[in-house]
């Protein structure tokens, strides 16, 4: 592999990784607050992609409008899922909401298969894709779009979490649920907000990936969801910068692995990496050591 090929693969990897990161953020934020692995998160990403297709084809909307509509629709869906499937189980064992999440995941997959059929659907090419040459690498319009949208969304998220009141409440609730309530924070509202943001990011990821690979299917959330979950754990579950880093790291590793001739093992790369990282850093790249209160 020469230098130009290498840099091209890294660029492709970052693009793919940015989409993983968008999904991984939802896993990590939800886990940070309610210690739940939201196994239905991959399906939210899938539904987001389908809403994007619907907007572009049936409603003849432009890409940005479709993206916004998909994000909004998934926000509502994410909040509703939490209300119906997770909140009633809040004070039960940790396994109960996890199983409920798997149920929601199967439900959404089956529902989408019933509506659209099990075959992948092509994502209409709403933008005239073109290739630009920058030095040794080529970058497509779609790639540029993915990188810009993902960076904007992540920067916005960072701003909200760091400086906006609800973001501070999120951090407080993720550190200590009861004490956050003693500050006068409505923890239920914070949880709803977390699901809304996480689902919107996943929906954006879904539309962008649909556009990138020109294909949307009811099962696309399974492997993307698992990989994004790996990315979140890799970066340190509960850590927002960790999810971003983990996503990019995984995307680059996967692309380089394929370019290096391991294309048969494409999907194994993420999990192998996860095992290796966890062996040496059990809390992930940016995870905090687990503190136990006595």
């Amino acid at each position: 592999m020469d230098a130009s090929m290498l840099s091209q693969q890294i660029l492709n990897g970052i693009t793919l990784g940015a989409t993983y990161a968008l999904i991984a953020l939802g896993y990590t934020m939800v886990y940070g607050i309610i210690q739940l692995i939201n196994f239905a998160h991959g399906e939210i990403y899938m539904v987001g992609a389908f809403v994007g297709v619907l907007m572009v084809t049936v409603f003849q909307q432009g890409l940005l409008f479709s993206l916004a509509a998909a994000m909004l629709a998934c926000m509502v869906m994410g909040v509703t899922i939490e209300r119906i499937a997770y909140r009633p189980l809040r004070r039960s064992t940790r396994l109960a909401p996890l199983i409920s999440a798997i149920g929601v995941s199967i439900f959404l997959q089956t529902l989408m298969t019933k509506i659209k059929g099990p075959q992948p659907v092509a994502f209409p090419q709403v933008i005239n894709d073109a290739l630009y040459k920058i030095g040794p690498v080529e970058i497509s319009k779609v790639q540029i779009l993915i990188l810009i949208v993902a960076s904007l969304l992540m920067a916005t998220l960072h701003f909200i979490v760091k400086y906006v009141k609800i973001g501070k409440a999120m951090r407080a609730a993720s550190e200590d649920y009861d004490t956050a309530a003693l500050m006068g924070i409505n923890v239920n509202r914070v949880i709803s907000f977390t699901f809304a943001i996480g689902s919107a990011l996943a929906a954006a990821g879904g539309v962008l990936v649909g556009l990138y690979f020109n294909s949307v299917s009811p099962f696309m959330g399974v492997s993307a969801g698992l990989k994004a979950f790996c990315a979140a754990v890799l970066g340190g579950i509960g850590s927002i910068p960790g999810a971003m880093l983990g996503g990019i790291f995984l995307g680059v590793a996967e692309t380089l692995g394929i370019a290096g001739g391991f294309d048969m093992y494409k999907d194994a790369i993420a999990f192998t990496l996860l095992i290796i990282v966890l062996l040496f850093r059990p809390t992930g790249l940016l995870g905090r050591p687990i503190q136990r209160k006595v």
Binding site: A172, D178, T179, G184
Partner: protein, 234 residues
């Protein structure tokens, strides 16, 4: 100001609080003393709405707050400094204080209140940009109290503020509690350090295995043979 009437709390099948009734009159310090596991913390958490009682009523300033969500109770002017401080360790000190004033939308007032907290606890001002987790135990207790004061409570619940602190710091914390009370905050203080808390309190309750076994004037309790024998080392 606060009235608790025959409250029962269960954790699953365990009957943790077996009918506690108590009263905190405005302007006083009332203390709840008792051994580990007696149900003192459960009682405070029930008052704050963190635990739902099985039966019984809780009134704050005449308003029934039984089963009201914690954040609504805080809005009414009642908050707690929890056991073990429970500061937000991964956030800087100033953010901990800001969170204490979460319900106050008046930014100017929040800044003033923060200034007051810094004046009361100068150590916090020196370290306001440091992560709260880097503070010593005594400083963390001060931060937890400062954070609670940011919500301008009229009734402050304190859960074992002396836990794990050196005797000098315990004295300092207790003199701050007294000072807060003199400035108008009513206080319900839970303590294992019976001597210290009875010496600053007006009224005291002795809790044993989920029940109140003794109640009365703090001075009288300090002199009572039962309390002396059980909690003050004879």
């Amino acid at each position: 100001m606060l009235k608790v009437e025959d409250v029962h709390v269960y954790y699953g099948a365990i009957h943790a609080i077996k009918g506690i009734s108590l009263e905190v009159p405005q302007g006083q310090i009332v203390t709840l003393i008792g051994a580990n596991g007696a149900g003192k913390t459960s009682a405070l958490n029930t008052i704050c709405g963190l635990i739902k009682p099985k039966s019984g009523r809780i009134f704050f300033e005449g308003k029934d707050i039984t089963g009201v969500p914690t954040q609504e109770i805080v809005k009414l002017g009642l908050t707690q400094v929890p056991e073990g401080r429970r500061i937000f360790a991964n956030m800087p000190i100033y953010e901990n204080l800001e969170l204490g004033a979460f319900l106050n939308k008046n930014k100017k007032e929040v800044a003033q209140d923060m200034e007051k907290v810094y004046t009361r606890f100068p150590r916090l001002r020196e370290r306001k940009n440091q992560l709260a987790g880097s503070l010593s135990g005594g400083e963390q207790q001060m931060l937890a109290m400062g954070r609670a004061l940011m919500s301008k409570p009229r009734l402050l619940l304190l859960d074992e503020p002396s836990m794990g602190l050196s005797p000098i710091l315990v004295k300092e914390i207790f003199s701050i509690i007294k000072e807060l009370n003199e400035q108008g905050t009513t206080i319900l203080l839970v303590e294992q350090n019976a001597k210290m808390s009875l010496s600053i309190a007006h009224k005291g309750y002795v809790v044993e295995t989920g029940r109140i076994v003794l109640a009365g004037d703090a001075k009288e309790l300090l002199e009572s043979p039962e309390v002396k024998k059980a909690y003050l080392g004879g």
